[in-house]
């Protein structure tokens, strides 16, 4: 009797494992197929990054998009940029400043590619601010923020994983760094919570996109007292400028292979790319020469010898950001640089 029971149990166990395997596989299949379908639904009503990109969805609006970190958010002023192009160079172009705090690396890659996917037939120039280094970064205070989840598509996660795992750190440390990115990627891949955004998008269907010239969500604490404090510390500013001249653009080149790929992606859409290195008082990480990409167009404002007026202390709010007069001057210089590039292109 016992032998029969054992045989019976073994047969049952075999059947159990088989059903468990089959059930798990079909569960994964059902999950994947349904997630794919729901993703298509969400993309229709609330595409990833919509909140920041929706002003660009207005047709036939912009010829130039400037995209980058808070350096762009604070430093780029479309009114001065367009006025300089119009008044000094006779060009009438509309521009949009897509500045987001700490926009860099894989997240910047996500937005650059998203902008290129938008139906913007008049878009001709993409000015990408690469002043800060392009290493992926995720502070704990930002875990599970919608913005940090939205950009973690498979391509972006692969970029992050390749960067983090390529670092010369103990494996445990690398995995710890990667873990929050992986969680965000999981949330993004499984569309967790996207139903809310889709429903809001559905409600807003038919409403015209808001006319904005800059996204409203970057915030810098622009206190007059802070700017005054910076202005008073002339020695520190001058010393920073001297250091910048002595050792300019010696940042890590490891993460800069990524920006070089954006030019090719833009070229497929007939869009020209220029990399903008801003007038910060620290060394910008973008190298003068990217290996294998010698002909990248770089608008370099990180050299106090070339653009001394941008290093006036009154133009600087802190080591990264500009004051209003600084922003005006920088925007006009950027317009001049763009005009020169356009002239060169036209000559060709």
């Amino acid at each position: 009797v016992t032998g029969d029971l054992d045989r019976d149990s073994r047969a049952w166990l075999r059947r159990f494992w088989l059903e468990l395997l089959l059930g798990s596989l079909t569960f994964a299949l059902g999950l994947a197929v349904a997630a794919w379908g729901l993703r298509a639904l969400a993309e229709r009503y609330a595409p990833l990054g919509r909140d920041r990109l929706s002003p660009l969805m207005r047709p036939n609006d912009y010829e130039v998009v400037v995209i980058g970190s808070s350096m762009t958010g604070v430093g780029f002023r479309h009114e001065h940029f367009e006025a300089q192009l119009h008044d000094e160079h006779g060009r009438t172009l509309r521009s949009y400043g897509l500045g987001m705090g700490a926009l860099r690396g894989p997240e910047l890659d996500f937005y650059v590619r998203r902008v290129l996917e938008l139906p913007m037939p008049k878009l001709r120039w993409l000015l990408i601010d690469v002043t800060v280094d392009q290493d992926p970064e995720l502070e704990e205070k930002n875990w599970f923020a919608t913005r940090e989840i939205e950009w973690q598509t498979p391509r972006q996660f692969a970029l992050v994983a390749s960067h983090v795992m390529g670092e010369e750190k103990p494996l445990e440390k690398r995995l710890t760094t990667l873990w929050p990115f992986a969680r965000h990627f999981g949330i993004n891949a499984l569309n967790i919570g996207r139903g809310h955004a889709a429903l809001e998008g559905f409600d807003r269907m038919g409403e015209p996109e808001p006319e904005r010239r800059q996204p409203p969500d970057w915030r810098l604490d622009r206190k007059a007292s802070k700017a005054k404090k910076y202005r008073e510390n002339v020695k520190a500013h001058e010393s920073a400028v001297r250091r910048l001249i002595a050792s300019r653009r010696r940042g890590s080149t490891r993460s800069n292979a990524l920006p070089a790929t954006w030019r090719d992606a833009a070229a497929e859409r007939g869009v020209e790319v220029a990399y903008v290195v801003g007038p910060t008082t620290f060394n910008a990480a973008f190298p003068a020469e990217v290996p294998g990409k010698p002909d990248l167009r770089v608008f370099d404002f990180n050299d106090p010898r070339e653009v001394p007026h941008l290093y006036e202390i009154t133009y600087h709010y802190d080591t990264v950001h500009l004051t209003e007069p600084g922003a005006e001057s920088f925007s006009r210089d950027l317009a001049d640089a763009l005009d020169e590039a356009m002239n060169e292109l036209e000559r060709r």
Binding site: G23, T26, F27, V33, A34, A35, A42, G193
Partner: protein, 469 residues
């Protein structure tokens, strides 16, 4: 660690795999005990000392009650158990409430005294495991069950992780016998438990948490909202708390079931009750039966004079309200339910009750009144203070056109009610369908349901409401 958190899934898969792989039931039980302590320690390792201490004390008390030769000694050990468990509850949960209430009372008589306060964190699930321990000791005292001789078995009964932090409050008489006979993997109803877990997850995360997002602002500042919003928030909270707590119970029952153990049912479609007595037979069943068996009956239950029965009902419910937390809103909530139970009983004893039962729409009217009462009381239960509750009441009839909360939530609530009705009515049919469906179809359906649930899961993490109790 919450059942709805990603970290719980690998934890549970590991527990499941190890629990069924280990040879020997004793080893399996030891493993589950250890796993339960890991689960509880994930909140705060310091709480483990409290859990372990409470377990040791009640285990010793149980043995001593059995060994005691006189009634006085048995009673003395029972008092030790009550003092230790209720002392824990008082120290961690009620001390500040009692002292501040006393100071406020003295203040009303013109006596000003400083209120001593304890800066302590309320250990998760304290009310649940202390009530469970008390029930065991009282059952031993009453000779309803034999004392548990194996400490590991007793510790597992107290700490078994699926029910540790928010119930259902288990009785030793139900659980301890399950530790005597090793369950078999082939007896586990996987399909049912997986479906129940998914249903619980859906109720908690997709319904309760989403409703909370809509109604929380109304409870935070009711004066900013109109009449419709306030009514929607009150009704919505009743749906939220039901889905939150019954969803947790479903997940607990399913988790225990997958590990080979049976937990008792905690909810039975309570919002379909036609009177408040029936509601309490169907809402948080493990607590209401606990209160009935260990408090109401201990005070004489229904075997005393009618006025004393009413007193027993009111006191039991008042203490039941206090069990939920150290706040006057909970106490008054319990009091209101006690009064309603007494009134229902008093009405049942009159001739009008028989006549009322013959009225064609009596059940429907009874359901409407019961549901309205439950919603009213839960609105008080949810408010941070009585003042906020009065603010909410004050808004009724005001600014009815102002809609700060999306009015489509009314449709959602009605749809959920209809779905619950259909589910309750056809549950056997649904159970048959899940049992008969081919494995691939079942897997696909479960996967698609999981994708849909995740799609509407709000990103903000919300603990289960009953964890705070």
């Amino acid at each position: 660690m919450l059942f709805s958190e990603p970290i719980f899934f690998p934890f549970f898969l590991l527990c499941f795999a190890v629990r069924w792989s280990l040879r020997g039931f004793g080893t399996q039980k030891t493993f589950l005990w250890a796993a339960s302590y890991v689960f509880y320690g994930a909140w705060d390792v310091r709480f483990l000392a409290l859990l372990a201490g409470s377990t040791v004390v009640d285990f010793i008390v149980g043995k001593n009650i059995e060994a005691a030769t006189t009634v006085a000694r048995r009673r003395a050990w029972l008092v030790v158990c009550l003092c230790s468990n209720l002392g824990l509850l008082t120290a961690f949960k009620y001390f500040n409430f009692f002292t501040s209430s006393t100071v406020a009372l003295l203040g009303a008589f013109g006596l000003s005294v400083p209120a001593p306060t304890l800066e302590v964190v309320l250990p998760v699930g304290l009310s649940f495991f202390t009530f469970q321990s008390i029930s065991y000791v009282i059952d031993v005292y009453r000779k309803n069950i034999a004392v548990v001789r194996n400490f590991r078995d007793y510790a597992l009964f107290v700490a078994f992780f699926p029910q540790l932090v928010a119930g259902p409050i288990m009785r030793a008489v139900d659980f301890i016998p399950q530790l005597a006979v090793p369950p078999r993997l082939r007896d586990v109803d996987f399909r049912r438990h997986l479906a129940v877990f998914c249903l619980g997850y859906f109720k908690k995360v997709c319904i309760a948490d989403n409703i909370a997002l809509a109604i929380d602002p109304v409870f935070a500042a009711p004066l900013k909202y109109g009449s419709t919003d306030v009514l929607l928030a009150a009704t919505g909270y009743s749906v939220q708390i039901y889905c939150d707590f019954s969803g947790y119970s479903d997940m607990a029952i399913a988790t225990a079931g997958l590990l080979g153990f049976r937990l008792s049912k905690n909810f039975d479609a309570p919002y379909f009750s036609v009177n408040i007595q029936e509601f309490w037979r169907r809402w948080h069943i493990s607590l209401s039966t606990w209160l009935r068996d260990y408090l109401y009956i201990s005070m004489g239950g229904g075997r005393v004079s009618e006025p004393k029965v009413y007193r027993n009902l009111i006191v039991t419910m008042l203490l039941g309200g206090l069990w939920h937390g150290a706040n006057m809103t909970f106490v008054i909530w319990g009091l209101l339910h006690g009064v309603a139970l007494a009134a229902t009983r008093a009405f049942g004893k009159t001739r009008a009750a028989a006549a009322w039962a013959r009225v064609p729409a009596s059940r429907f009217i009874g359901w409407v009144l019961t549901f309205a009462w439950v919603v009213f009381c839960f609105a008080l239960f949810r408010c941070e203070s009585i003042q906020i509750f009065f603010d909410m009441l004050g808004r009724i009839g005001e600014d009815a056109r102002r809609t700060g909360v999306d009015p489509r939530w009314w449709l959602v609530i009605v749809a959920l009610g209809l779905a619950q009705f259909a589910f309750h009515r056809y549950r056997e049919v649904l159970r048959g369908l899940t049992q008969r469906a081919p494995v691939p179809l079942y897997g696909l359906a479960l996967g698609a349901a999981a994708a849909l649930a995740l799609f509407i899961t709000p990103l903000a993490k919300r603990p289960f409401i009953y964890f705070q109790f």
